[in-house]
């Protein structure tokens, strides 16, 4: 068995969903060395310690990274520069530093301006996550079969890059290399814009004073509930993504708005052919996403279906409680 983890001493700075998943994935993959955890949030640190995610816990990022040969920065993109400055004085010479930020151009710039020359920085981004946040949200298989994008620059140390890529392979990830500018453009459409749109739709629905919020919630199974998941993502992380990938997000958003104007006009003028043609074309994209192993083939994301036995139905129905009508018995 190849050793995917070619380092002895890890520091993880930022112990949210991604940081905690990395800690768990390291252990699950057989990493035996110390894992120092840094987070300026004392509550998160205490939880991490309760779960036993690491071997030492530090409010100071500088203290967390002292002695580590692999430093993983899992803080919001907007905190990368301050974190880089904080750890610079105590970084071991030749330490590998990598990150998991959703924007790469601004992070590379922030690190170039804050880390010492001797540190070997490799910019990375695992395309994985969930709407949940914090150290309790992590799980060891979060990165399995997901892509991890690494965005090298001419300054990137090849050996350090290999060590980082191998670590992600050890977590079960596939590796893709591209330059930071391309990453930021591609992700603006596959990740940043979808989150922005989800946040916006949930806001519009919540604010629609002619429709009570209770009705919006009650009938959300008609489609709205899907958007509430992305719109429950960490607000600090996403604020930073939009502030740090401004140009690409505005470009993608401009295209989205143009296309939306066409749909709006088709609805206003009763142009069914335009609507049908667009809806027919988008249908195949789902098949492609499932075919590429990027989502489940099960209907409705494989959401749990309601189930009940015939006996329960009979007894619950006897109670005649309409507000909680009994689910029908079914052979699936």
């Amino acid at each position: 068995m190849v050793d995917r983890f070619r380092f002895q001493n890890v520091a993880i700075v930022g112990i949210g969903l991604i940081g905690s998943s990395i800690a768990l994935a390291l252990r699950a993959g057989g990493f035996k060395g110390p894992i120092a955890i840094g987070d300026r949030n004392g509550d998160a640190l205490r939880v991490a310690s309760e779960i036993g995610l690491g071997t030492s816990y530090h409010v100071s990022a500088a203290k967390a990274v002292a002695g580590a040969d692999m430093v993983i920065l899992a803080v919001p993109v907007g905190s990368m520069q301050a974190t880089g400055r904080a750890i610079a004085p105590s970084l071991q010479a030749d330490a590998i530093v990598t990150d998991v930020g959703s924007v790469k151009g601004s992070v590379i710039e922030a690190m170039a301006g804050s880390l010492p020359q001797s540190a070997r920085f490799v910019a990375g981004h695992p395309i994985a996550g969930s709407e949940q946040s914090g150290p309790r949200a992590g799980f060891a298989t979060l990165f399995a079969k997901r892509w991890c994008i690494i965005t090298p620059t001419p300054e990137t140390d090849q050996d350090a890059l290999d060590v980082v890529a191998d670590m992600w392979r050890g977590f079960g990830s596939h590796i893709e290399m591209m330059d930071a500018e391309r990453h930021d453009l591609v992700l603006s459409i596959t990740s940043h814009l979808p989150h922005l749109i989800a946040y916006n739709l949930v806001r519009t629905a919540s604010d629609m004073e002619s429709v009570a919020e209770s009705e919006v919630i009650k009938f959300s199974a008609g489609g709205f509930r899907d958007f509430t998941r992305l719109a429950a993502s960490d607000p600090t992380m996403w604020r930073d993504v939009f502030l740090n990938n401004r140009v690409a997000v505005l470009e993608s958003l401009g295209r989205f708005s143009e296309d939306l104007a066409i749909l709006q006009r088709a609805i206003r003028w009763g142009d069914g052919d335009t609507l049908y043609e667009i809806f027919e074309r988008t249908r195949t994209v789902r098949t492609d996403v499932v075919g590429a192993g990027q989502d489940t083939a099960a209907p409705d994301f494989g959401r749990p279906r309601e189930e009940s036995s015939g006996e329960e139905t009979a007894s619950e129905e006897a109670a005649e409680d309409d507000a909680e009508a009994a689910p029908v018995s079914a052979a699936r």
Copy 2:
């Protein structure tokens, strides 16, 4: 046990996802009488017959409804009027006719203009579905614990309304009553706008010529894949929804676009406080949706997580196939 199905002879016109789920839910709930199935699409009809969804199969809707005391119209909203006209001559006197259309105002109007005076029409809409279409997509528990909205008018026969409501209760649904205008407004925000936005985002992404479609698919786990599900919904059904709920959809869409302009401006001007404030507020909506039993509490919609045993990891890693890197072993 109360008999939820107070009719002897059912006809279902339109055997897609909803029609087939009704047929299965009737049988699962103990309905023993004949179920005549009508669909002008010969392929759908043949599939329905192969699965055994009904007791007789008809390309002619008129023939399907002859002799039925309960007629369920499960065709796209735009086909309701033509279907009403087609079945009018052969409807049994006093037959109950109900529908499952996603728009109610236009369907009530279409039925008033096409059904005979003696028919008792009750407009209904189950808030349930999936992105899959056709007679094979149906399942008996689709309506369990979901809301079914009934939109009576002053002309609605009270007894017929009770029979229809009881049928949905027999499928495990909760019943909500409201007028058609309110239904169309509420659903414009909880269902119609979300579908429109999903269709549009998938279209924009597919068309973004500076990003290859393969990249859009490959990195779709960043958020985009969620939208591909809704955008895979039946194009005919959704074209008809937008054409028939024009006023309410344009109103909701107008609000969405105004709100999106505010986000766009905040990104352009680097206004992080506005972004954070909106993202923080939308977060609670998810909790409310889950609390109301309208979605699963599991992260990521409960999508199946990757799993593997340590043994598999070892042997797959020995194969050293990077393109299909082994998922990490994990205790979850």
